[in-house]
Amino acid sequence: MSAHIRPVSPVFVVLVCLAFCSRLSSMKAASICTNGQTGCHFISLANLFDRVIQHSARMHGISNDLHSEFELYFLPSKNQIGRVSHNCHTSTILTPNGKENAQRIAREELTEVILKLLVAWRDPLWHFHQDMAQHHEFNNFSSNKSLEMSDMVHELRKGVQKVVEKMQMLGIISTSIGNLGTPEALLASNSAEWRLMNDYDLLYCFRRDSNKIQHYLKILKCRIVPENGC
């Protein structure tokens, strides 16, 4: 009996190895792909969208928490007459103010709005985190959250850029967006403005903008790949 099994088992082992190796190689290829190489198709666009939407939802959650915490500390003049706007530095970016508007504008425009917002918030959040770390009156919880928020903005921007690349590859949107990887131009225009904001306003504005990003991504996804969850 054992003699009969013996010639079979090496073959079996080889087969198992092959199966595993192929899987490993495919997984490796997956990690290589997400590191920026184009031409990898096995992560679907819907999947990519889901990932960035989840990321943006989490980012908004953190910003919401931080804002609530700040309200506890600072108790700014809520319901105050006259305080209509908060002087967000992103107010210059034209954003659709509702569902219909977001559905009406072109995909490329919507994508561009998202990217602009993400780019605009990278530096301010990083500086905010630096301020938080220096001011020891804030607990570690808030400090960690600010760092997390700053990182998430950075990563979300990269993720959305990947999505854009994939869409461009699939021909869903034109390549007119170009590479917003040259944010220096944008930052230059906004650099002065965001320094004028105080921390509370910064958090307020970012909370709103992260909500906008989340909604725009969801609208975009259901317009382009309305598979599951739309």
Binding site: Q80, S85, T95, G98, C222
Partner: protein, 545 residues
């Protein structure tokens, strides 16, 4: 006096004036709250303050971020009394609103302000609609099938909002159980008790907004377990019982047949004409009767035929392995010979003969068995001791012929099978040369000699005779020795003479074979064997050179 009257009159006038005209400017209305049911529109409502006794008008003005100027509420009606409804065109989700409600009457006005930082904060949907609860009473486990639809106007399809639902269920007399179902519209609840009544409510939440109110309760009852199924199972049981009963009755009625089929009877050893029961009693007379009783022996007739018939006694494995057909053939020859022999026998010995013959016949039936017996265990032949004893005691007197016969037969009964075969073998193979093996035993009185040697057929017999090893007078059968292992039995008449001769033979034989100690035994056994019946074969193992 006049002064008091005047003061009183003034008081009267003033009081009258106070009772008649209680109007004043309106009190401040209080803005109670705002609500956005689907994140696309919103409305706000207020509580009017005192109206000052005059008809008071309420108006709402608002300012919006990124919108210049002060605007008035576009819709006072849709959301009910004392409310302002902002439709889609007037709603900017991420914009700040500054609301002011103004109450105005003839005497004045009053206002209160309300700031909406973020409309998202006031998102609170309506409860889900079309809540249906079905009790699915499938046999293995009943469950509740609960379904609902999202509230009206909530746009989940475009991805603008994501609805999360929560369900709560209450069994009569028990606590509420909450279940979060995420974005699903259905739920199958398996943890239900049969026969219980349930109440179900559902509510929903849009993204990070507020939960809606609970929907109106929906009731359901799970049918009792088995109420529908009991008659079904009764039918099934009844139908299953019928073939079962049929099978049992068949088994009982045909038990004999089944018993025979499953457990075929193994034929036990049987000797025809021998009553086994008599053996069991153990008494010698019973034993005798068992063996000989009711046997009718043919009358003895003088042996006139000079034909000598030789009975070859040999115990050869090769022989026994040959096909049984030859055995049967040999048997026929043997029977003929036996009949002749029987004629020689005395009357007294007739029964013995018959018994022997009958034993032969019985042997026929069990030839195959004998073959195997012989070939397998030669040692079994050693069990002939007890019978031998009898023989020797008897000696060879004629008066005791019957006894001797019985004695002879007895060993035969034990070993007759073997003898028979050997004889048969010998008879058939007389014309041809064959190899015989015989049992050799050194055991008390049993004389069994088995050797494997070639035996020459009939001619050897003649030679034997010539050799003078056996000076056998007529009418008795005696063992003749062939060259090697062939044992020839010559049948002649009288046992008496035979016996005497036997004695001679004894001496002869013993002298011939002094080497083996068993030969003495041989001689002994010889006499007993050399009986008229020619049953010499009962002790097959005759020594030879």
């Amino acid at each position: 006096m006049m002064r008091t009257h005047l003061s009183l009159a003034m008081l009267c006038v003033m009081s009258a004036a106070g009772v008649c005209s209680s109007t004043s400017a309106p009190g401040r209305p209080s803005l109670l709250g705002c609500r956005s049911p689907e994140k696309e529109t919103f409305f706000c409502w207020w509580e009017p303050g005192s109206d000052g006794g005059l008809p008071t008008e309420y108006r709402l003005f608002y300012m919006r971020e990124n919108l210049r100027g002060v605007h008035e509420c576009p819709d006072y009606v849709s959301a009910g009394k004392n409310s302002c409804f902002f439709d889609k065109g007037h709603t900017s989700i991420w914009a700040e609103y500054n609301l002011r409600v103004v109450a105005t009457n003839a005497l004045g006005n009053a206002s209160s302000d309300f700031l909406i930082n973020d409309v998202m904060k006031y998102v609170k949907p309506y409860p889900p609609v079309n809540v249906t609860v079905l009790a699915n009473s499938s046999t293995p486990s009943p469950y509740l099938q609960i379904q609902w639809k999202s509230p009206p106007n909530v746009d989940v399809k475009s991805g603008w909002v994501t609805a999360n639902y929560e369900l709560r269920i209450k069994q009569n007399g028990k606590e509420w159980k909450n279940v979060e179902t995420g974005a699903q519209n259905v739920l199958n609840l398996y943890s239900v008790d049969p026969g219980a009544s349930y109440m179900v409510q559902v509510r929903c939440k849009l993204d990070h907004g507020n939960w809606s109110e609970w929907s109106n309760p929906t009731f359901a009852k799970i049918p009792k377990h088995g109420q529908i199924e009991i008659p079904f199972w009764i039918l099934v049981f009844a139908f299953a019982l019928i073939p079962l009963l049929a099978t049992i009755s068949i088994l009982v009625l045909k038990r004999k047949l089944l018993k025979q089929w499953f457990l075929p009877p193994i034929p036990g050893p049987m000797i025809r004409g021998v009553d086994i029961q008599l053996f069991k009693s153990g008494r010698p007379e019973d034993v005798v009767n068992a063996l000989i009783g009711n046997q009718n022996y043919p009358p003895m007739m003088p042996w006139t035929d000079q034909v000598e018939e030789y009975l070859l006694v040999s115990d050869s494995d090769a022989w026994q392995l040959t096909d049984p057909y030859t055995f049967h053939k040999k048997k026929e020859n043997l029977i003929i010979g036996l009949h002749l022999e029987s004629e020689i026998q005395h009357r007294e010995s007739a029964p013995g003969q018959n018994a022997w013959e009958k034993a032969e016949e019985s042997k026929e039936e069990t030839v195959d068995l004998e073959i195997s017996n012989v070939s397998q265990s030669k040692s079994s032949l050693s069990n002939m001791e007890p019978t031998k004893l009898l023989i020797e005691e008897q000696g060879c007197p004629s008066t005791k012929k019957t006894l001797t016969l019985t004695n002879v037969i007895q060993p035969l009964a034990n070993t007759s099978y073997v003898d028979f075969q050997q004889r048969e073998n010998f008879w058939d193979n007389s014309p041809t040369q064959a190899e015989y093996s015989r049992v050799k035993e050194v055991n008390g009185e049993t004389i069994l000699i088995l050797n494997k040697e070639k035996i020459l057929p009939g001619s050897d017999v003649q030679e034997q005779e010539v050799n003078g090893e056996v000076n056998a007078p007529d009418d008795y059968s005696r063992v003749k020795e062939v060259n090697n292992d062939l044992l020839l039995l010559q049948k002649h008449d009288s046992a008496d003479s035979y016996c005497k001769k036997k004695e001679d033979h004894y001496t002869e034989w013993t002298s011939q074979r002094p080497t083996t100690p068993s030969e003495g035994e041989h001689s002994k056994g010889l006499c007993s064997e050399m009986v008229e019946s020619g049953y010499v074969n009962s002790v097959p193992g005759f020594s030879d050179k």
